[in-house]
């Protein structure tokens, strides 16, 4: 998995691509979240538009990222879910746990000031 980040109006957008699975993307995602929190960047938008595959370990890593950011007083939202990821979050009942957006500008505005 590849990850890069950019800042838009005080929100850090983490663009992810590839697979988030055990032994591949999970560790990358965990490290990225830890690094952002270490820099006090607590408004995080995960752009999953180019994530082609996610397994239960990857779902677990998304949940972990969500709770870690929240526990530090931040916000984490999801952007641009593919159908596969959308379906996985639906059947695991996580779709309503995450704040999911499909438009970047709207998502950025949805973060608290």
């Amino acid at each position: 998995m590849k990850a890069s980040n950019r800042r838009v109006d005080g929100v850090t957008i983490l663009d992810l691509s590839g697979r988030i699975t055990l032994g591949e993307g999970s560790v990358v995602l965990r490290d990225q979240i830890r690094e952002l929190l270490g820099k006090n960047e607590k408004k995080i938008l995960l752009n999953l538009g180019d994530v082609t595959y996610i397994d239960s370990s990857g779902i677990g890593e998304l949940v972990s990222a969500f709770t870690t950011v929240r526990n530090q007083g931040g916000e984490l939202k999801l952007l641009n879910l593919t159908k596969k990821v959308h379906d996985l979050l639906q059947i695991t009942k996580l779709y309503t746990v995450f704040d999911v957006k499909d438009d970047e500008a709207t998502a950025v505005k949805a973060f608290g000031k």
């Binding site: 055990l22 059947i91 996580l94």
Partner: protein, 180 residues
């Protein structure tokens, strides 16, 4: 290229639903592939998980499944293989995972066996329960059940055998819709 320890076993041949009919040599290993059933023994590594997933997708694609079902079968096999390698065998190099695929003509039947402590169905927590929703792990078996038509877990004491069945012409789409 991934290096894995393959040991294929011959089984009864049939002219129905031919998968493959070849014997190839990879390094010093001979791979025997039959028409109806293929099984192999793999080390307890993540490479083996990837190999099992990849093989599932390739074999499912040779059967009359829709593309979406091929993806779900591959994902179910991945989850079962992760359970076998990680939770069952705990990456122990002395323990192996056996994976078999059988095309019965009516279904794809996959068995994954590990040599771990053994898993009891009743000990698996419900990942949809309120108290488990935000847990990092525990969704693998649930996803397998969502994607396959039949799932059986057998505690071999020691070891676990999980059997996954996907019937031909029986899309899992309706089952997934029902969870929404």
């Amino acid at each position: 290229m991934r290096q894995a320890n393959y040991r294929f076993h011959l089984s009864r041949q049939s002219q129905t639903q031919p998968w493959m009919r070849r014997c190839t040599t990879v390094g010093s290993e001979k791979r025997f592939m039959t028409l109806e059933r293929v099984s192999y023994t793999l080390d307890s590594t993540l490479d083996s998980v990837n190999k099992a997933e990849q093989t599932a997708e390739e074999l499912a694609a040779k059967m009359p499944f829709e593309e979406e079902d091929c993806h779900r079968i591959a994902m179910a096999v991945r989850e079962a293989a992760v359970n076998a390698v990680l939770h069952g065998n705990a990456y122990d190099p002395k323990k192996k995972m056996t994976v078999s695929f059988e095309n019965t003509g009516e279904a794809l039947v996959i068995k994954i066996v590990d040599q771990g402590r053994g898993l009891r169905d009743e000990d698996i927590p419900d990942p949809l329960a309120e108290e488990n929703l935000l847990k990092q792990s525990g969704r693998g078996i649930f996803l397998i059940r969502s994607f396959m038509d039949e799932v059986k877990i057998r505690n071999l004491e020691p070891g676990t055998e999980i059997t996954l069945v996907k019937h031909i012409g029986h899309s899992s789409g309706a089952a997934m819709e029902g969870t929404k």
